[in-house]
Point group: C2
Chain length 343, copies 2
DNA sequence: ATTAGCACTCGACGACACTGAGTGCTAACG
DNA sequence: CGTTAGCACTCAGTGTCGTCGAGTGCTAAT
């Protein structure tokens, strides 16, 4: 579709623009050396590229700027995976050798590494909880009518929730129930806890415990899968250093988006279906607030099941080569780390 | 020190400036009606007030702007506690009748209410954990060499931490130890857990459990008071709507400060000594990033012990009357709520 | 097919004048 | 004597104009 020369020129323009954030003219391309043609020739090609929709002109007497289509072509055909610099590799290595014993900590750290290495905003989605199974369940009464339900998963993750209990339910009943639940439910995936309680464990429970229905209601409350697969952000303020965000209004809409976890989740979910690296450029993103941003995500899997997603949000004019290389490396390392984690 | 008229004029100027964010001139004060003097008279007084340091002039032919000293005088002598509007009272009431069963949730919500009612940024510090005591302790092994330590407090707060355990420590030992700890430590304040383990419980433990020293090390790790008295922020982006933050650089330094929890903590700590409402204006604040902001905090106490702090951060040109009134009301309500909570 | 040359476009920038809000001072007023 | 009307003055903000220069498109020469 494009001639070799056009591709070279497109590549050069995008390269330049990523660095300078300013419309690039024919002369500067010609002078770069890697395209050995005169400014005039490049000018002609640029006119063609614009007609084809790969470039845009802010105004008549300005240089050219890549269009969404241009970026798309660039990431699909032109960009060569950036090698991760030794320095960065070093940092990542030391991250993975560091000992962390909370899942949350790992994710949080990964996000921080990403944002600090790229100077963009990083978004990390934790490994889906459905991989986890119950290790231990506990109900600790804290007053006459309330108790804390605690769920420990095999990965060491702890969830807790305050539930209200009927005032006339006896302590011994509760203890007995907890014991039964622990023997019956240990090893059951978190996502199936609720149904399992009703189908299989329910009757057993009824035999030993008074007021079984009431208790079941309490358990329902406790096992409510609060899908707080939280999204971890880091480097949100990095965006403010980008020239495309010198306008406070844009900053505000972006930051407001960051606060809206559910929206972020949805954005991410739509990406995480496919495995590997995905790039959404500008208006390809569903949300308007990031219509001048690109979102690059890497979904890694564990035993063939997609397990988590890490991503970088930056201006459309972002360093795709570097970011893609980095995400590729880090997502693979994450998969390995988690593989070991889950044993 | 100031004549009655000067005070009226100062009050009027600050009032106007809070509303308009623009230097206020003598004419506009004169026209307001509540100061019944001509522009010329007011002009003379304004010159005096400037000489005394209560006002400042951005440039010769502009109106006057309150100085830090001016604001100080205003909040100390002039401002009359703003009545909280019916609408706002309504919202606060409904907040307090809402049923919440996690401490974190309450605090988070309080912060949100505050920021939404004021359109500034709210900062809330949770009730100091020293008021809490141990309700239940548990060690759940999740692998050969790791276990999750879970601490439940009398208020239903759950802390958890992964600890590594010596591989040759037997399950039964652990169980026995946990039992002893629960009988001995229930009711002990969280802050004193660690010392208590060493002094009183240690010997008892040694009698029943092998490898007592090793176990103590594990417990030390578990009881490490991770002083995560977290700071809850809400409405951080509200600041961006303030005209004093139309400059992205200022926004960035401010937002970066928000990310630095320890610094925020320190800022807050210095305020929370005194009880009641405290106002720090502009450079009275220690941190440079908020040298054009004011921080108003209300510390509430429970049984005479200061329990928590809620605060509002806004531009120096903020609506002191409203904010102070609101904080006063809310902090008292919080104290009541928590009093009930701790029973 | 490529390139040198040239006329043309248009935003950025500095110079300049104008406007208007606001001041300080002085003199008149009650 | 305190208050106020009047007036000259200051200065940020705004709009206009001309210049500059980077960049373009087109044409003709190589």
């Amino acid at each position: 579709m494009l001639t070799e020369r056009q591709r070279m020129i497109l590549n050069a323009i995008i390269d330049d623009y990523i660095r300078s954030a300013e419309p690039v003219g024919s002369r500067s391309i010609s002078k770069r050396g890697d395209v050995g043609f005169s400014a005039a020739t490049i000018r002609n090609e640029m006119a063609d590229l614009e007609e084809l929709g790969f470039l845009e002109q802010p105004h008549t007497s300005a240089g050219r700027v890549p269009s969404i289509k241009g970026y798309r072509y660039y990431v699909d055909h032109l960009v060569k995976l950036g090698e991760v610099s030794d320095q960065d590799q070093q940092k990542i290595r030391s991250f993975f050798t560091e000992k962390m014993n909370q899942m949350e900590e790992v994710i949080q750290h990964a996000a921080m590494i990403l944002s600090s290495l790229t100077n963009y905003t990083s978004i990390v989605l934790g490994p889906e909880s459905f991989a986890n199974s119950l290790k231990h369940f506990q109900l600790v009464p804290i007053s006459d009518d309330a108790a804390v339900a605690i769920i420990v998963t095999n990965t060491g993750h702890v969830e807790n929730r305050t539930v209200s209990i009927p005032p006339d339910m006896s302590m011994s009943d509760i203890e007995r129930a907890v014991n039964i639940l622990n023997t019956k439910l240990t090893g059951v995936p978190i996502s199936r806890l609720k149904s399992k309680v009703h189908t299989e464990v329910g009757q057993e429970l009824g035999r030993y415990v008074d007021q079984c229905e009431r208790l079941l209601a309490v358990l329902d409350e406790a096992f409510k899968t609060d899908d707080e697969n939280r999204v971890y952000l880091s480097g949100t303020t990095n965006m403010l250093t980008q020239p495309e965000f010198k306008d406070v209004d844009k900053v505000k809409t972006l930051l407001d988006l960051f606060e809206e976890t559910p929206t972020l989740m949805r954005m991410f979910a739509s990406q995480s279906h496919a495995n590997g690296i995905q790039v959404k450029i500008g208006t390809e993103n569903s949300h308007e607030a990031i219509s001048n941003c690109s979102l690059i995500t890497a979904t890694y899997s564990l035993d063939g099941v997609s397990a988590g997603t890490i991503g970088i949000l930056g201006p459309t004019r972002m360093d795709y080569a570097k970011v893609i290389g980095l995400l590729d490396l880090l997502s693979k390392d994450m998969a390995v780390l988690l593989g070991r984690w889950y044993k």
